[in-house]
């Protein structure tokens, strides 16, 4: 087994998709900036995504047909690309959530019951 720690990008990549999908499922169609701001807000500033991470991630989700995007206008009259979760995205989110919950439960048990 490799003794290297998993890189930050790897951790982020695995969870970023899930976070974006969850944000879109909860808030409805959002533009990139709003998605980033939301993630920053819920992490109390711990998670700050720069454009070089956020937008390629969104493009990847779009290429996988998990989200779809179209140009629109924001409340303060700015042009932005709005992303919305697709049916395939919802299915993926549900599956990932289930797997995540199972993993959390396992970890929780492990941490709580060291004996």
């Amino acid at each position: 087994m490799s003794n290297k720690e998993p890189s930050k990008a790897e951790v982020l990549r695995g969870t970023l998709d899930l976070m974006v999908l969850q944000t879109l499922a909860a808030l409805g169609p959002q533009h990139g900036y709003a998605i980033g701001a939301r993630l920053e807000q819920v992490s109390s500033g711990a998670l700050t995504l720069n454009m070089g991470t956020l937008y390629p991630g969104l493009m990847r989700l779009e290429q996988q047909c998990l989200v779809k995007a179209e140009w629109g206008v924001t409340d303060n009259n700015r042009q932005a690309r709005f992303y919305a979760i697709t049916a395939a995205g919802r299915r993926r989110l549900a599956a990932e959530k289930k797997a995540w919950d199972q993993m959390v439960s396992v970890m929780h048990t492990l941490f709580e019951d060291p004996a």
């Binding site: 533009h31 990139g32 900036y33 709003a34 980033g36 701001a37 700050t48 720069n50 454009m51 070089g52 991470t53 937008y55 390629p56 493009m59 990847r60 290429q63 996988q64 047909c65 998990l66 924001t74 303060n76 700015r78 042009q79 932005a80 690309r81 395939a88 299915r91 993926r92 599956a95």
Partner: protein
């Protein structure tokens, strides 16, 4: 990874490929989105109380670099390596245009090599892999009697066929066909000589094609005493019966017997081999069944679940019965099962064919070596002049592998273009081949399709890749070997790279090869084209030839019929002379000849052929007069020479000069050598001594050959080729001939009616094709040599620019300087020419040019060397002029 994730990944990569190819989201679109993001961030910061200038700065800092984000988006949008390769391709294309000389020379040579390889491969592919276009055609097989010792097929007996039919479990519907040639005569009296399939009823079950009208041949049709029936093809139905629905029951005369039409097969059906008439295979008792396609084949269909290997094992185990007609190697003779179409190729083991195919493919790839070696020289010379560019790229972080990959892609652009051109050549050749093959009686087997298969496409792609690897990768690795050590010197334009000993040797080898190839090519081309240039030596359009044979080969009858035929033909006002021969002039069979007292070996030993190569013909007494061949010595044939025990032979001048150089050939004796492994098919006997009784002039159409003529009486040659001298227009001759022949005997066959001019035109087509190929190969070799020399000279001048400048500044004559620079190069041309001349001389001694179809041209060897020298001088003119124009001040300043 779950299925869902796999699907998502597939979707992502599909879109990325599409994104790379289509640029679905443009850079402008991506930038617009990023700009929108920054604007929204600024708005937010301003709302929180930041000043305008601070907001912009802070937004940018929080969002990360805009350029980096754009790059990351571009990478995600498509396939980064595809994008960079595409850039390399564009650069390669630009270089092709800029270095048009190299493109032209290298491209032509590469196109030629790939074209030759592709044409040969495609021909192999068509013969070996064309599938039988029947339902589960790959399960149709042939059962053959196989002599393992001689490595050849033997005829089958009826008993074996019956035994296979009754006993085999893994091969069903065992049957056979035999090809017979019959005059087909309809009630309206029209005559057509056609190949007819005598076929078992099982043949129609094997083919699984029901008749369009009526029924196929049934087992009962072959029973003794059954009424003769015939099944006809769709085009015969249309042509001879106007597509009448009531054709069933109508009569058709097939040879001597009147047959009743019982069925019409659908359009395109020709199984078992290009047939349009099918009659029952009569059950024979003693007669052997021929077992060589297309003369005859025993066939069957693998039963469900059976494999070829298991069927072969079953048939091998069953073996063959002892034959009534003794077989040469009874102990080593057994039976085998092969794919059906395999029965129409030569005598091979199935494994041998695969091996032959693999070896041929490999040999064809090796065809690329000469042009690739030459292009590699040119590429290397060009690559070393780009040291500055590579040093710069290396300094900017480009790895050696990346630079080598770029050079490979550049070479690939050239070879890919050559491959595309070669596919075009292949297409043209296949169209021409289809046209030519359609004129051949019988044509190619119906299952052969002449399109370009995916195997051929793949092979051409492999050739392009191999060509690029050989011509681009090798020089690229060589030129970038010391990339890391080049440092700033190369960036400033100074390079210490030299054309090493390997490359100099290659140039010498190239010159040697050119000098060796030139005489060979010129002599071969002359041998091929001479007849076309000087003509056949007589008015070929006034002569016609036609093949005549009697059904069943009853030669006693045939003699009488032939005499009668000649008499009636001479009554035709359009025919002024008739003779008979085994073959028309220029188409005589080849044989090996041994002169008395020399005892030639009976097999090829150390490249020495058994005796010398000659042609023979059997002719009647009227032949020489018909062609107005002058007698040079001795006598003409008399009636006594046609007796079976007679050993009198008349030879042409070439033959006489070979057996008695400068002397008298009359009375000399020779024999035909039966070379080991070859079959003696027809004509005079092998290993019997014949005596020369006369010498006649060469017919110019066979000037390049030694010909021996044997006397034959009417009926002794079967089938014979009638030789007719015509008066006036030969149009309508075939029909007139057919009528006369039918009036003599309806069972007398006549076909292949052609004027000699037509025959020679056909020969010339092949000759011209051969000469064009030889010319193109030689031309490309010469061009490559010239380009190689040019590069060598240009490179030498560039390398010694500084030296020339200094010596010129010190007062040396520019002419002397350039001469000194070029001395070494001319020494290389001289060395190459000497080596080439020696190689050509030795090759000529070992294998005389006449033996491979060429004609000697006096003084060709020194002529070729002089020509090469001239090419060298011409190739050096440009670089020499550049050398003379070097301005010492300019040259030294730039250093």
């Amino acid at each position: 990874m779950t299925l869902q994730e796999v699907c998502s990944s597939l979707r992502e990569w599909t879109r990325r490929v599409w994104g790379a190819l289509s640029r679905r989201r443009t850079d402008h679109d991506l930038q617009r989105e990023l700009a929108g993001h920054l604007a929204l961030a600024e708005d937010e910061l301003r709302r929180k109380g930041h000043a305008q200038s601070d907001a912009a700065r802070l937004a940018l800092a929080a969002a990360g670099g805009r350029i980096q984000a754009l790059e990351a988006l571009r990478d995600q949008r498509g396939l980064p390596w595809l994008d960079s390769s595409w850039l390399d391709v564009k650069l390669g294309l630009r270089l092709l245009v800029r270095n048009w000389g190299l493109t032209l020379v290298g491209g032509l040579a590469m196109t030629l090599a790939i074209s030759i390889a592709a044409v040969v491969f495609a021909a192999f592919d068509i013969v070996m892999w064309s599938p039988l276009p029947l339902d589960e055609g790959d399960r149709v097989v042939a059962i053959q009697v196989w002599d393992r010792e001689a490595g050849r097929r033997r005829d089958t007996t009826w008993q074996d066929l019956e035994r296979w039919r009754a006993s085999l479990q893994l091969v069903g519907d065992v049957g056979a066909f035999q090809t017979i040639r019959r005059n087909i005569i309809t009630p309206d009296g029209s005559v057509e000589l056609a190949a007819v399939a005598e076929i078992s009823a099982a043949g129609f079950r094997v083919a699984r094609v029901p008749p369009l009208v009526g029924r196929p041949i049934a087992d009962a049709d072959a029973a003794p005493g059954a009424a003769p029936v015939v099944v006809i093809g769709h085009d015969v139905w249309q042509r001879r019966f106007a597509g009448a629905r009531d054709v069933i029951g109508r009569e058709l005369r097939v040879g001597q017997d009147v047959h009743t039409v019982v069925g019409v097969m659908p359009d395109g059906f020709q199984f078992p081999f290009n047939f349009r008439y099918w009659v029952p295979l009569p059950l024979g008792a003693d007669a052997m069944l021929r077992n060589t396609g297309p003369e005859g084949v025993v066939f069957g269909r693998l039963t469900p679940g059976a494999t070829l290997a298991r069927a072969h094992a079953e048939v091998s185990a069953l073996g063959v019965l002892p034959s009534i007609e003794a077989r040469p190697n009874p102990e080593a003779t057994g039976a085998r099962v092969v794919p059906y179409t395999f029965a129409f190729t030569g005598d091979f083991e199935p494994g041998e064919m695969g091996l032959l195919w693999s070896l041929s493919s490999l040999a064809l790839v090796l065809l690329l070596l000469p042009p690739c070696a030459n292009i590699a020289i040119l590429n290397y010379a060009r690559t070393v002049t780009r040291q500055q560019e590579f040093a710069a790229r290396h300094a900017l972080g480009g790895s050696r592998a990346r630079i080598v990959f770029q050079l490979f892609i550049e070479a690939l652009v050239l070879t890919a273009a050559a491959a595309a051109a070669a596919l075009l050549v292949l297409r043209i050749v296949s169209v021409v081949a289809v046209e030519r093959l359609q004129n051949i009686p019988g044509g190619p087997p119906f299952w052969m399709t002449f399109g370009v298969s995916y195997r051929t496409l793949l092979f051409v792609a492999v050739l392009a890749l191999a060509g690029a690897a050989l011509s681009g990768l090798v020089p690229a690795l060589q030129a970038t070997r010391r990339l890391a050590q080049l440092g700033t010197g190369a960036l400033a334009g100074r390079t210490s790279v030299r054309l090493g000993a390997t490359w100099t040797t290659l140039v010498i080898a190239q010159v040697a090869f050119s000098v060796a190839v030139l005489p060979l090519a010129a002599q071969l081309a002359w041998g091929t084209l001479r007849t076309g240039v000087v003509g056949p030596g007589f008015a070929a359009e006034e002569y016609a030839t036609a093949r005549v044979a009697l059904e069943g080969g009853q030669s006693v009858l045939f003699g009488n019929r032939q005499r009668e035929l000649a008499r009636r033909l001479l009554a035709d006002p359009g025919i002024v002379g008739v003779a008979a021969a085994l073959r028309p002039p220029g188409e005589e069979p080849w044989v090996f000849v041994d002169i008395e007292g020399r005892d030639a070996p009976t097999e090829v030993v150390n490249g020495q052929l058994p005796g010398f190569l000659a042609r023979f013909n059997q002719v009647d007494t009227a032949f020489f007069d018909l062609y107005q061949v002058p007698g040079l010595a001795g006598r003409r044939f008399t009636e006594g020479d046609v007796a079976a025990e007679a050993d009198a032979v008349i030879v042409n001048r070439n033959f006489a000069e070979t057996i008695a150089p400068g002397g008298n050939a009359l009375g000399r004796r020779f024999r035909y050598v039966r070379a080991t492994g070859s079959e003696w098919l027809h004509g005079p006997e092998a290993d019997r001594w014949y005596e020369v009784v006369g010498v006649v002039g060469n017919l110019p159409v066979t000037t390049d050959a030694r010909v021996a003529y044997h006397a034959a009486a009417p009926g002794q040659i079967d089938p014979a080729h009638l030789q007719l001298r015509l008066r006036g227009d030969p149009a309508g001759l075939a029909e007139r001939l057919r009528d006369v022949v039918a009036s003599v005997d309806p069972t007398l066959h006549v076909d292949e009616v052609r004027t000699l001019a037509e025959i020679y035109r056909e020969h010339r087509f092949g000759d011209n094709l051969g000469a064009i190929t030889i010319g193109a190969v030689t031309g490309s070799v010469l061009l490559l040599s010239a380009a190689g020399l040019y590069s060598l000279m240009a490179f030498t001048v560039a390398q010694r620019r500084r030296e020339i400048a200094i010596r010129s500044a010190l007062g040396a004559q520019p002419g002397h300087l350039v001469a000194a620079v070029f001395r070494r190069a001319f020494w290389q041309i001289g060395a190459g020419s000497a080596a080439g001349m020696l190689a050509a001389y030795l090759a000529g001694r070992y294998v005389p040019i006449e033996q491979i179809g060429g004609l000697p041209i006096p003084g060709i060897l020194p002529g070729a060397a002089a020509f090469m020298l001239l090419v060298g001088v011409l190739a050096s003119l440009g670089p020499a002029r550049r050398g003379l124009r070097i301005d010492p001040t300019e040259a030294l300043r730039s250093e």
